[in-house]
Symmetry: C2
Subunit: 395 residues, 2 copies
């Protein structure tokens, strides 16, 4: 495996150092490192050094990335989008394997080296999307580590057979149990949550549940989720994706829920959408709750927006939470780096000796500038190997 | 002046046509145009053709664009930002002439051919920023048309001498009377508004007033503004910038204000900020009120965000208003094209024969894709001349 010495880079905008990479790990990090005989040398040119970026909430299997523009004429509700997607998939023969690979490669070119992606499971496609995403994960495994969530997009209780398909998916290698809106989509929160937590217990895998439900309805579902998390002692094993309700309910109720989440290390994955209430970042942090970022869908039948670029997502997190100061922009960066590693459970992370050598070089004066200018990734090292230069993959 | 024939472009994504430009105007637009003897020919290669983009609310004089990164450590309120900016300007010798020119050129490279920019007037800098912006406007005049607003950033009533400076500015060529938060900043709404409307009457120039004031306070100020607009019969002469209150108050009160605005053709300029209430686009349109887009400040002591790119701003307008469908994305594009021309009073606009030849070519299948992908501007024609290729100005 390559021994790589990168000279003259500024970790998070700090003083310039050299980075030595060996055996896929950061072997040394400091000024004026000695050059091992077999080392490939790379001039960092004073670039800003970031750790590999982390996507905490993707839907690789849904994307049209690399294909023709999807003309969206979908109705206004979430149920319209769910039904439209199933019809569109079956009418067009959407190739989840090819598309997910194309999008994952674009993420990697932009310095994303770890990712959690939800893969649809429903009675129409069964395990096809899940297997397509697992295939993409296997193809990119040495460089981009992808956790695949067995995600019941169309519901569990209302779709007979989906719980059983999820059980098979988890046995086949899906990393995380998914879920969605136990009241609004499944209309039977106890039955859905009992099924999901049953899978969590059976497979010993974490839960990541989409919770779009607004206000008091969402708070009720969250309460039921926390009740089960507490009863089964699933500390650090549960993520609430979206959690819009935490930006809608009264402060007293919200703070009580956040305190319970902090106690059980229940995390929040946010896309920080501009048009919706969101969990307030500063208040979640003050309560001790980990918040990390994700793009959600990118150019699919749900949404035309978003980019496979976690610096861009950090910018949206900053915009949505009115982060202006440089110290605040570092909080946005944390959502797609350190907190995302903790939130998804990616080990050996960071710009420290012994961590997986996932390194991103950009031309920026400061971390804040890297977020708001989203400069082309000058160099991306993933798992110890150079995989991209100037925004393009090498292979 | 150049005669230019652009072959094979798709206006707003429609069927391919040729465009003939002569005397700075669109002379013909249709399939298979004959080639005039003296014409410069340009192959459009099937690119999407957009009209010149319009920035409806900028602050060219404040930007640090092209300079070192501004490290923001400013306090949390608008008054903190106002006071910090004056202190920073005087401590650093901020060069509003050079910076405004650099930023305006970046706008032009991205296909912005018309713009309204607010220029600070206060007791510290007097007319220096206004004159700097007018100088930038004069330098770029053949290509980028800039309206300059005489903008009392620090207030009118609370800053003795500012009304008189604005009077001089308007005599010297400022195009628009500016204003800001009559209650919250000046704490004397009647005195401020009487001074501003006095300038409007004296100079026969339009008013564009920043109204950040929340909820009922903002609605009260808006009521006072509309009262004067109606009394002086200033139909089509008033813009409310921001107008956050319209996204905060009850529907009955909001709709009554919107009906009065529609009657007097009072426009709204929005930046569609993710972290603030905003005038709801679809409801404003249903009421017959023109809404157009602007970036507000770009990389200044107020904010690290934003780009001199009106397709990017259209994307943010789309995100903030939950516009997903392709027909909805066209509404976002309208905010930085047709509605902005109407809102700011830029004549001879659009992709029609006789209009000013301001043309933007991008590689995109549809207008929606142009907004969400913000592709490099392949060609920019401004005032009939090619000014930029592949994102870079030619001079």
């Amino acid at each position: 495996m390559t021994v790589l010495l990168i000279r003259n880079v500024r970790p998070l905008g700090g003083a310039a150092v050299d980075v030595l990479v060996a055996q896929g790990r950061i072997a040394a990090l400091g000024p004026d490192l000695a050059t091992p005989a077999d080392a490939l040398q790379e001039d960092g040119g004073g670039a800003l050094l970031l750790p590999g970026l982390i996507e905490g909430h993707a839907h690789l299997d849904k994307t049209t990335w690399g294909g023709p523009w999807y003309r969206n004429a979908v109705g206004p509700t979430r149920m319209h989008r769910i039904d439209n997607e199933r019809a569109w998939r079956s009418a067009t023969g959407h190739d989840a394997a090819a598309r997910s690979l194309a999008l994952a490669r674009a993420y990697l070119a932009n310095g994303t080296t770890r990712m959690r992606s939800h893969a649809d499971i429903d009675p129409d496609i069964g395990l096809a999307h899940l297997r397509a995403t697992l295939r993409t994960a296997a193809l990119l495994a040495p460089h981009l580590e992808i956790q695949v969530v067995a995600f019941p997009q169309s519901g569990v209780v209302r779709c007979p057979g989906v719980a059983e398909l999820m059980d098979v998916a988890l046995a086949e290698g899906a990393h995380v149990v998914g879920g969605i809106d136990p009241c609004q989509i499944d209309r039977d929160p106890v039955a859905q949550l009992d099924a999901l937590f049953g899978l969590v217990e059976k497979h010993g895998k974490p839960l990541d549940i989409h919770l779009h439900e607004p206000g008091e309805m969402g708070a009720f579902s969250l309460d039921l989720i926390l009740e089960r998390t507490e009863a089964l002692d699933l500390r650090g094993q549960v993520t609430i994706s979206h959690g819009f309700c935490l930006g809608m309910i009264g402060a007293t109720e919200r703070d009580a829920l956040l305190a319970r989440m902090a106690r059980m290390d229940v995390r929040i994955a946010t896309t920080a959408p501009a048009a919706s209430a969101v969990p307030p970042l500063a208040i979640c942090h003050a309560a001790g709750v980990t918040v990390y970022g994700g793009n959600d869908g990118i150019r699919d039948s749900w949404t035309p927006y978003a980019r496979p670029d976690m610096l861009d997502r950090a910018m949206h997190i900053g915009l949505r939470n009115a982060l202006r100061r440089d110290d605040e922009l570092d909080v946005a960066l944390d959502c797609v780096t350190v907190s995302a590693a903790h939130g998804c459970g990616f080990a050996d992370y960071g710009l420290v000796v012994g961590a997986r050598a996932d390194l991103v070089l950009v031309d920026a004066e400061t971390t804040g500038q890297a977020i708001v200018a989203t400069p082309v990734r000058r160099l991306v090292v993933a798992g110890g190997e150079i995989v991209a230069r100037d925004g393009a993959l090498l292979d």
